[in-house]
Amino acid sequence: MATILETHGLSMEFRGFRALDGVDLRVEGGTVHAIIGPNGAGKTTLFNLLSGLLRPTRGRMLFEGRDVTGLPPHEIARRGIARSFQITSVFPHLTVLDNVRLALGARTRLGYAFWLPERVLARFDEEASAILASVGLADQRHRPASALAYGQKRVLEIGLALALHPTLLLLDEPTAGLSLEEIARVVDPIRRVARERTVVLVEHNMGVVAALSQRITVLQRGRVLAEGTYEELRAHPAVIEAYLGGAA
């Protein structure tokens, strides 16, 4: 399959501090591409650039062959890149169902209809229910998101990204802080989505990385340290030293 996402010399400076330093990345369409690296390596910053929340200080990003550098977040979302957040980012005072309806409505122009009653949003309910069922939140649909347990919020976080039907899904540590049972609940939908879409996955759990991803990029202090398959990286001296160390 063709390359769906490329970055060339992508750099991000925060008041002189280089969080990302000349990152070249190629993600093949239809794969799960994991990004690993120690805390502070710049993984979330990379996602903030790819999703348009930050503008790179240098470098370019191409999505489906087109330059998307510097586009605002909503424009990037419209082109088919969705992301989840490492720090859970849902709409706390809205119900679980309303959270998902909002995500589903984002691809329509219904959101501008200030003259229509809100019951027209019921047109999204069937699809929203399917998404909630797929992440195991069907019975929570009428609770406010703030009332969910931590693990359920994480799962809703993924559900919102899935509801956008993105071409490219960026998942920032989807399993952070989850129990084993909850991890399974997140991994299954990701695996299903990955059959038809491309996923870039930031993940600390090496079991999840090995199970899901075809390719792995290792980031360290804002630079690409190595890239390859799980097997290749397990044998990579610099990676063993810097990151996999104890685990390998």
Partner: protein
Amino acid sequence: MRSRAAGWGLLLAVGLALPWLIYPVLAVDILAWGLFAAAFDILLGCTGLLSFGHAAFFGTGAYAAAVVALRLGVAFPWDAVAGAVAAALLALPLMALSIRRTGISFAMITLAFAQMVFYVANAWRSLTGGENGITGVPRGEVLGWSLSPAVAYYYAAFPLVALGLLLCWRIVRSPFGRVLLAIRENEVRTQSLGYPVSRYKLIATVLSCALSGLAGGVWVLNHGFVALDAVHWTTSGTVVVMVLLGGMATRLGPLVGAALVMLLRDFLSRWTDAWGIATGTIFIAVILVFRQGIVGTLEGLVAGRGGPAAAPAAPPVEEAASGLR
């Protein structure tokens, strides 16, 4: 369902009886300020934007309605509608600049723009009459009925204000209103879902300002007179107090808040010139007990007893304030 119909019936009955319960000029003031507060709450309660310059739009509506009624002979309700249009036209550039900021700096920039509008109103004597204001604004007639009697004007203003209120309530409870709530709750996530947040904010602010201008138009025809106090920052402050007192992000809160403040002002000003201080003290006392405003807190109590699920509530005052980064 039946209790809802009863609720609407009761509201309508109170609306129709109001000019017989209190004197009619005060009754129209409650309508006008109630609409102003409801329009303001589209931004404060629903979108999480604290404008501290809404006097500019209320006042522009008042001046515009006065000028077209007096100089061009435009009849009711079109003079008041002209107030709404003028406020919307002013809001478009001012709010397009203001919404680039959030939180407390949005409040500051809207205040700064409103101060500019105040100075323009003061300096542009040929149009606004400067410190003397515009006097003798005629109410005219509707379908052959003279609106000169205050009661007649009340019943002419009532359907117009009712339409304005219904539009406010619809905006808040529409697919659009849902996106505004999402912006209030989590602006970054709303944007990441693909909503162009700035465009939504611009539409919301222009709608809010237009409806505030309509309220200003209704208000100026009530008094036949407008001066600089309409665009003074204290007018912006008063509408904030009304919404917080009644309860933001509730349907009736802005109306209840507006009615309370107007009644208090009317009652206290008979005894003292310092009614502002007295109103402020009462405001603080009420907010200490009813942290989400009177209506917000009562709705919370009913919902807590297993009543119907309330609409997404606004956070209490201090939580809202802490969001004003």
